[in-house]
Structures are given as C-alpha cells and as structure tokens.
C-alpha cells in the first residue's frame, strides 16, 4: 500500500513551552490505516495530529525540522487552507470548533470554502446525513445540541469534504458512553470507505477492533508499537504501568439500578437530607426528587445518561440555579438556602472560569484574611501544589488548576464540594492523583462528582447516586 502520510526525522519545539515537543520522530502511515496515538499528557500526540493537518507549522509557531508529507504534499510548502479537502480534523472542544450557528450551514461550511457548486454541496450533505443517520439534527441551532450531537455534526462537516485522511484529537473527552458508541460507528464507516484515520486519545476501550496500529509516545518519540490484537489484549496493570487508562472498568454503573447506595464500606455520621426537591424549565419538570439522604463525608458519584439532570441537580444543590423548590436538612436542622450556598462550592469542568487572582496563594486566600496564610500554605502542601504557590494560576496544567480551585474551597470552609467531570481529558496519572486527593479530604467535607469516568468511581467513590429523567 502507498503511504498516506510520512514523518521523517521530525523534531518540533513549541515557541512558548516544552510540553508536547517532538524529538526525531519517524512515522509512516499507510493509506486506509487506522492509527492510534496514546501516551500521557504532553507526550506529543496532539503535536503529531497538528503536523498532519498543517496547523503546525502554519498556525502554531515553533522550531520545526525534518520532513512531513501527507498524500504526496509537503506540509511545509502547502498552505493550510489548501489541505482542507485532503485532511479533515475533528477537535476536542465542541464549543470552539463550530463556525456557524446552525447545523446545516455548519456541515456545508467546508464545502463552501472549497468553492464547490451549490448542487454538489447539497448532494454531499444528503449523502453524509443519510450515511450517519442524523436527519433530525439538520436545521437545528448549535447552541441547543448536546456534546455528543455537536461532535456528530463536526464529523459530518469533515466527512462532507471527502478528505483522504482524517485526524481526531481527543474527540471523546466530553462524551458519555452512548455518544462514544455512536462516534465509533462513524469511524467504522470511514474505515470501511478506505479513509486513513489518525487518532490521539486518552480513553481507549471504545477503539478495540477499530485500530490497526497503536503507537505509544513518550517525551516526543515513539516508545512502543503494537498491532491492534496484541494491544487490546494487554492487562490493565500493563497498561497502567505505561501510563495508559484501562480499556474498560469492571463496572458500568449506568446499568445498575437508580437511587443512592454505597459501593464501599462507609460509616455514616449524619446526612444531608433533601426533601421535595423539584426544578422545572417552563412546564417540563427537570428534577423531581421526593426524598434523598446524602451521607456527610462520603464521596458520591452522580451518574446517569446525558440529559438525566445531573448538572441541573448539582447546580440546584449548590444554590446556583434559582427557583428550585425543596428543603435541605443537615443533621436534623433545616438549612436556610443562602447559608447553604455559602457552604457549597462547585469545581467546574472548565476551571479557567473560576481562577481570578494573580498567584496561586492569592487565589486560595481570596475569600479570607491574610492571617490565614499559614493554613493556606498547609493546604497547598497537602494538595501537592505548594511548589507553584507564586505562579499565575492560568499558567498551571489542568490538574494543578483543579487543585487550586479545590484548595480555595477547603480554606473557605466549604462543606459541600461538587466536581463537574473532573477527569475529562486527564491522563492516567492525573486521574489517579485526583482520585487520591478526593479520597483523602477531611471527613466533614461531602463530595459529589458528576462523572462518566467509571475508573475514577472505582478508585475513590464510596456511594453512587444514579439519576435518570431527573429522578431517582
């Protein structure tokens, strides 16, 4: 088979940092092959995808040496726009890869840029849409779609341009298991059509039987290479030693019963009791819980399918959603809503929204007096981020930002900590660190984790709260 893409002695160094650099990398990808790049954060797998779609060197700046060729075009001599019909790209963040605000225009966008005649574009949209069975997503507003639906539209937009090579950079980091299964269908179809697929991913289980070749990257070069069969028969231990996530966790809690129940031994000492907890969007009742007792000090995983009301429920619980009804009783005393909001804190999925100050220490001290500096330093020490106490929070890695947010919540004496998808996009090591941290929090802090990550649940959660259709 002819080569779809080849990288010869490629080294690359980003202009503004060390992470993701490549070091003398050699790689040949055959036409029609499906290649998976894996490895811990900063190993350079995203960099490889960016080399293939031309974002490096044409968009992200840095020092590049060596030769990159895709479908007989030298990347360094080809303008990135002219690669559009050759290499298609699907990115991680569904919020930032759409140009239009309606779905049909979005699918057409790439073809329009290529200057195809209108009739041809319409025909391509029809073919793509029926191939992917997404008729009901046409003519919708992008802002009303779920993460999985957005990712499907992104795939459709790429597919309509009929590229030979498709690169995907962590396409599943915001998706639940159902949406991942649907994405798998799309990839299988592409593979059957003979397209060359290159993926960079943390979550690997769903790719079993799809990938022909798996490359493990370490510090910017390929440290191991497997074929599909050997790789997907590796044991979880062997994977974890390489810093890779397990393919699947022993339990899929989504298949378990709904309600709140312990999955690990736990001595209860009091509970947060919710009664007649309801919330409605217009006439639609989004949350309707008659009675729910969350054990104090437990680490509870909030699971459920997309749209089950997990986020709405936790937002109500933190007092971030106005107009919900219901009462909260802590150890027998009814809590006034305002006081309850003061005691709760949510670590958002995009932590960037909640870091305000100029240094990590200032950030943690934001809500308190300077006299608490000592305590703050102790907390930073405990969370393992005391080394970066003088750095700007925005310069930290994703995991460290999360820790900074948690540290500020602890110092402010918050009693309820909610984490929204804390491990999306984290590699194995950071996921384990997060799990360890959550396990070791003080016993008077109640933790709720909204997550699809079964591995994280197995590692640190004591209880499961399974919601479906806004109720237990």
């Amino acid at each position: 088979m002819s080569a779809a893409a080849s990288l010869k002695n490629v080294s690359f160094q980003y202009a503004n940092g060390d992470a993701g650099a490549l070091n003398e990398l050699n790689l040949e990808i055959a036409a029609g092959e499906c290649v998976l790049l894996c490895g811990s954060s900063g190993c350079g797998k995203t960099t490889v995808t960016r080399l293939l779609n031309g974002l490096i060197p044409h968009y992200y700046e840095g020092r590049l040496s060596g030769d990159v060729t895709v479908m007989n075009r030298r990347i360094s001599d080809t303008a990135i726009e002219d690669l559009a019909g050759v290499v298609g790209s699907v990115f991680q963040n569904p919020r930032s890869q759409f140009f239009c605000v309606d779905t049909t225009a979005e699918i057409a966008f790439g073809c329009e840029n290529m200057g195809l005649p209108e009739a041809e574009i319409r025909a391509r949209i029809d073919r793509t849409v029926s191939g992917m069975h997404i008729h009901k997503l046409l003519n919708r507003s992008i802002f009303n779609l779920s993460g999985g639906e957005k990712q499907k539209i992104a795939c459709a937009g790429v597919a309509a341009m009929l590229p030979d090579v498709i690169v995907l950079d962590e396409p599943t980091s915001n998706l639940d298991l159902d949406a991942i299964a649907e994405l798998r269908e799309i990839l299988a179809q592409w593979k059957a059509q003979g397209k060359t697929i290159v993926l960079a991913e943390h979550r690997l289980g769903w790719l079993k039987g799809l990938c022909d070749r798996i490359l493990l990257l370490e510090n910017g070069s390929i440290s191991a290479e497997f074929n599909g069969e050997t790789f997907f028969s590796l044991s979880t231990d062997a994977l974890n030693r390489m810093g890779i996530r397990a393919f699947q966790s022993a339990n899929n809690y989504l298949e378990w019963k709904t309600g709140l129940y312990p999955i690990k031994p736990f001595t209860e000492h009091g509970s947060i009791l919710l009664k007649h907890f309801t919330y409605s969007y217009g006439k639609h009742k989004a949350i309707d819980i008659e009675r729910l007792a969350i054990p104090i000090g437990a680490v509870t995983a909030v699971v459920g399918h997309n749209g089950a009301g997990k986020s709405t429920f936790t937002k109500c619980l933190c007092g971030l959603q106005k107009n919900f009804r219901g009462s909260i009783t802590v150890n027998g005393t009814i809590c006034r809503r305002k006081n309850w909001t003061k005691q709760s804190y949510m670590v958002m999925q995009d932590v960037n929204h909640q870091l305000f100050a100029e240094s990590v220490l200032d950030e943690v001290l934001l809500g308190s007096d300077d006299s608490e500096t000592q305590t703050a330093l102790q907390i930073l020490e405990k969370l393992g981020i005391s080394a970066c106490k003088d750095r700007h929070p925005m310069s930290l890695s994703g995991g460290q930002k999360q820790r900074t947010a948690i540290a500020s919540a602890i110092l402010a004496g918050k009693k309820l900590l909610v984490l929204d998808e804390p491990t999306s996009g984290l590699d194995f090591r950071s996921m384990e660190d997060t799990a360890e941290l959550l396990r070791s929090l003080d016993s008077d802090i109640t933790v709720l984790i909204v997550t699809h990550d079964m591995e994280l649940i197995d590692r640190c959660c004591t209880h499961i709260l399974h919601l479906e259709n806004g109720t237990i």
């Binding site: 779609n53 990135i80 140009f99 605000v101 309606d102």
Partner: protein, 247 residues
C-alpha cells in the same frame, strides 16, 4: 443568554433579507440618530414611525419579551420627551431634555442592531455581503464576530456563577476588584476559544483563494418589499421637504 446575539433558527418567525435589515439600520442612523430633516413636521412623524419599526420586527421574529421590553422603554422615554420635558424648569429641564434626546436618538438604532444580530444567521450574512460585492477581507472578520459574541456571553455567565460561589459580588468582600477578577478569566477563556476557533476554521479551508460558494438562499420577499417601501417613503418625504413641496 446566547439568544441575545444569535439566531434561534428552530423558531424564527418571519425572515427578512439581511440587506433589508442593513437598509433600515442605515435609515435609522440618518434620521433617528442624525436628526436629518427634522425641520419638516412630516419627516418628524415619519421618523417616529420608522423608529417603532424595529420593535415590530422583533415581534415578527417571535422575540416577544425583547420586543415588549424595548418597546416599553422607548415609549416611556419618548413620552417623557414630549409630555414632561416642556413642563419642568431649570436644571431639571436641561438634564431631562438631554437624557431624553440621547436615548430617543440612540435607542431605535440599538433595538434594530439587537434585532439584526439575533435574527440573522452567519451564512445569511455572508451570502448578503457576497451579493453586495463586499470583499472577503471584510466579510470574514465580521462573520467571526457573529459567532464570537454568543460564546463570550456564555463565558461571562459561567464566570459570574463562579464569582458568586467565591462571594465576590457587589456588596461582598471584594467588591472593589469585581472588574479585574472578571476580566482576567474572561480574557484567558476568550483568547483560548478564539484561537481554537480560528484553527478549526483554517483546517476547513476558510480563506482559500478559491471563490467561496454559499448554499444559503437569500432574496427579497413580500415582507422585505413592505419594509423597504415604508423606509424609502421617509427619504421621499425628506426630498419633498427639500424641494419645498411640503412644510
């Protein structure tokens, strides 16, 4: 929140051609904001009619709440200008007069802007600019803005929520730093999103030298003709005034 700047294409109501909207906008700037032809009573009345037009358009686009709010505010200020201002004296009179003048002149344009942004899709906008032979160098940055505003609003609301949890709000502990604390994360988030957005658009061929096509159908319909005639009539009145046919 996102609905403020982006078209909800699932429930749009009556659709106007983007060029019609631009023409109305231009007319509002000339007559309502610029006060052109206010020497003629007929033009003054016509200007009031045209100033109410954006509110009517909001209703046709099924944005009832926005229409009620904007319409109410405009009516209130206009009423104050006509009824109240001539009947008070002294400092209050000039203060009230000035406020009324500024708002009465600005508001129609602002309401029309809100309507244009919230009832035009990116592809309609690009198609309209293309028909008017505006070069891509101008069209593309402007269409990016269309996409960017709703995103920035989403970011702002997320940051507001985060600030509430940290008790940084007006009357809270750190009231003095509210703006700084808001701007830093906002800038970081918007820069990130902007750069990812451009990267995604580039990989899909935005900016090639090939002439871009567009599958979006735009054109003038009955509703456009009605609005255009109404608006053009104002220019007619003004011309008649200049030619001293009317007073």
């Amino acid at each position: 929140m996102a609905g403020l700047f982006s078209a909800d294409i699932e429930n749009r109501g009556l659709i106007l051609d983007p060029r019609t909207k631009l023409f109305v906008m231009l007319t509002l700037v000339i007559f309502a904001l610029g006060g052109t032809g206010s020497g003629f009573a007929a033009v003054r009345c016509g200007t009031i009619v045209i100033s109410v037009l954006p509110v009517v358009l909001l209703v046709t686009a099924k944005q009832y709440r926005k229409a009620a709010f904007c319409g109410g505010a405009y009516a209130l200020i206009k009423a104050a200008e006509i009824l109240l201002a001539p009947n008070v004296n002294g400092v209050l009179s000039s203060l009230l007069g000035m406020c009324c003048m500024i708002f009465v002149r600005l508001m129609p344009g602002l309401i029309m802007g809100a309507y244009t942004l919230s009832a035009t899709t990116v592809s309609e906008f690009i198609a309209a600019m293309h028909r008017m032979h505006i070069p891509q160098q101008i069209t593309i940055p402007m269409s990016v803005m269309f996409r960017f505003f709703p995103t920035v609003l989403e970011e702002i609301s997320a940051i507001n929520t985060a600030m509430k949890m940290r008790d940084i709000q007006i009357g809270g502990k750190h009231a003095g730093k509210i703006i700084e604390y808001r701007l830093v994360p906002l800038m970081v988030c918007t820069v990130n999103i902007g750069s990812e957005l451009s990267a995604a658009a580039l990989t899909r061929g935005l900016g090639t030298k090939v002439r871009r096509t567009n599958i979006c159908k735009i054109g003038f319909h009955v509703q456009d003709v009605v609005v255009l005639i109404l608006t053009a009539a104002l220019y007619g009145l003004w011309l008649l005034g200049i030619c001293e046919v009317i007073e």
